[in-house]
């Protein structure tokens, strides 16, 4: 922890104290995000109940909508609640880029495998 006194004097550094006004501003932002996350969850549940999972085009688009809404929620949690958005650019990228790279690769390879397993299953069962 000897290094801590060398940390840049930004808003979330250890030695920085937020004033009451700063706190008020941050809290307002947090309450807005809370409302947003709640509304998105309600929309998701509504969509899940209202549309039938029947493999039609409508359902496939709803599925895509779920994934987009989930990513929006995730972005708000990471950038506002975990305030990664307020950190230095170098930290932001060192967290997000390697993860995005690995997980996109994993999803690609997973879908590829899944498709071929499905083909084998339906051909040879």
């Amino acid at each position: 922890m000897e290094r801590d006194d060398l940390i840049v004097n930004d808003s979330y550094a250890i030695n920085n104290t937020h004033s009451d006004e700063e706190g008020k501003k941050i809290r307002k932002k947090l309450y807005n995000v809370t409302v947003l996350l709640t509304v998105i969850t309600i929309i998701e549940v509504f969509m899940g109940v209202a549309f039938k999972r029947n493999g039609t085009f409508a359902w496939e688009s709803i599925k895509l909508g779920f994934i987009i809404l989930t990513l929006v929620k995730a972005a708000y949690i990471v950038l506002i609640f975990m305030h990664l958005g307020d950190e230095k650019k170098s930290l932001k990228y060192v967290i997000l880029l390697p993860y995005a790279l690995f997980i996109l690769y994993l999803i690609f390879i997973g879908l590829y495998e899944g498709v071929s397993v499905q083909e084998l299953n339906s051909t040879w069962r």
Partner: protein, 347 residues
């Protein structure tokens, strides 16, 4: 003493004399840990996707599997998991308020909001325990047919439909009859497990009471209705075929064709009533269990830090960064649930 790195040149900043990321060692390592943990969960969810995509049997529909609420009878699709999600989001908000109070060196605020977070964590764990117990216990159970049959049934909207079933097709029971039958089967050879099986959600229903009291012989029991496609949805000729109720003569035909060794009630590590694929139950147990374990450790860590805050430890240190570190972990737990919610229950 607060930082002067803003005035450092790039060489000095990256030369080992300062923190180029502008965060303390502990916080950076918390972030790295979360990245690795996120890869674990990402791997699990991707594996779930591969298995689900590669499966040639229909996959259970979340809305049809998870539709129960504690102490209420009837169908409330997805309401319970929505409630769990809401509890976790709110506990995430109280945690971020605790972090915010910490930045203002507001000890009372930290203690208050962290306390609420701990309560929210317990609520979530309790909800998950109920959900697991409901999942394991099942809602009626089912069996496979020993021959192929053609029966007439009725869909939820009253429309009549004729279904042709192969040998090995799944047929499900209604929850009252299914539970009574399960008790009768258990009571037949050993009365003790039936008594242990008490579950308040269904105890008020006469059927299971009578079965428990009189130890009805299972062989003499006949269902009034059976359900086809209880947990899966087929899409044929532009029609959604789900929850088809079969009554009367056709119900008797199905019941006579039951393969006795295939009865399954609820879910365990070897079989489950929800799907032909055991991976369905196994992924549910592992992923929600692994997440629940994270919530549990988060609650324990929160309690420890709450006690430290109560004892004034962070005032002595001069900063509340520990709250921020455990806050990162707690938000991560919420983040994972957002994805589990989407991929297990919604999609």
């Amino acid at each position: 003493m607060a930082g002067h790195t803003q005035n450092l040149t790039k060489d000095e900043l990256w030369g080992g004399n300062a923190s180029p990321f502008g965060v303390s060692y502990g916080k950076m390592m918390m972030w790295y840990f979360l990245v690795s943990d996120a890869l674990t969960f990402g791997g699990l969810l991707t594996a779930y996707g591969v298995i689900r995509h590669g499966s040639s049997d229909p996959w259970p529909v979340g809305e049809q599997v998870f539709e129960a609420l504690p102490a209420l009878h009837g169908s409330y699709p997805l309401m319970y998991v929505a409630l769990m999600t809401f509890i976790l989001i709110i506990s995430s908000v109280t945690m971020v308020l605790a972090v915010e109070a910490g930045h203002r060196r507001d000890k009372a605020g930290v203690i208050k909001w962290l306390g609420y977070t701990i309560i929210g964590g317990f609520f979530f764990l309790g909800s998950q325990a109920w959900e697991w117990s409901h999942f394991i216990h099942g809602s009626g159970g089912g069996f496979q047919l020993n021959k192929s049959l053609t029966v007439n049934g009725e869909m939820e909207n009253g429309e009549k439909i004729t279904m042709t079933l192969n040998a090995g097709s799944w047929v499900h029971m209604e929850s009252d009859f299914g539970h009574a039958y399960e008790h009768a089967l258990e009571g037949g050879h050993d009365a003790a497990p039936a008594a242990e099986h008490g579950h308040d959600a269904h105890a008020e229903h006469g059927a299971s009471h009578e079965a428990e009291a009189a130890h009805v012989d299972a062989a003499s029991m006949h269902p009034e209705a059976l359900i086809l496609n209880k947990y899966v949805l087929e899409h044929k000729n532009d029609k959604d075929i789900r929850k088809v109720k079969v009554t009367g003569e056709d119900c008797k035909k199905l019941w006579d064709a039951k393969a006795n060794e295939t009865f399954v009630f609820g879910a365990n590590m070897h079989k489950n009533e929800y799907a032909v694929q055991q991976q369905y139950a196994n992924f549910f147990f592992f992923v929600t269990g692994f997440h629940g374990f994270h919530v549990f450790s988060g609650v324990v860590i929160n309690i420890i830090v709450w006690l430290m805050a109560l004892g004034g430890e962070f005032d002595r240190r001069g900063h509340y960064e520990t709250i921020e570190k455990i806050g990162l972990y707690w938000h991560f737990v919420d983040l994972v649930w957002v994805f589990v919610f989407t991929f297990f229950y919604l999609v």
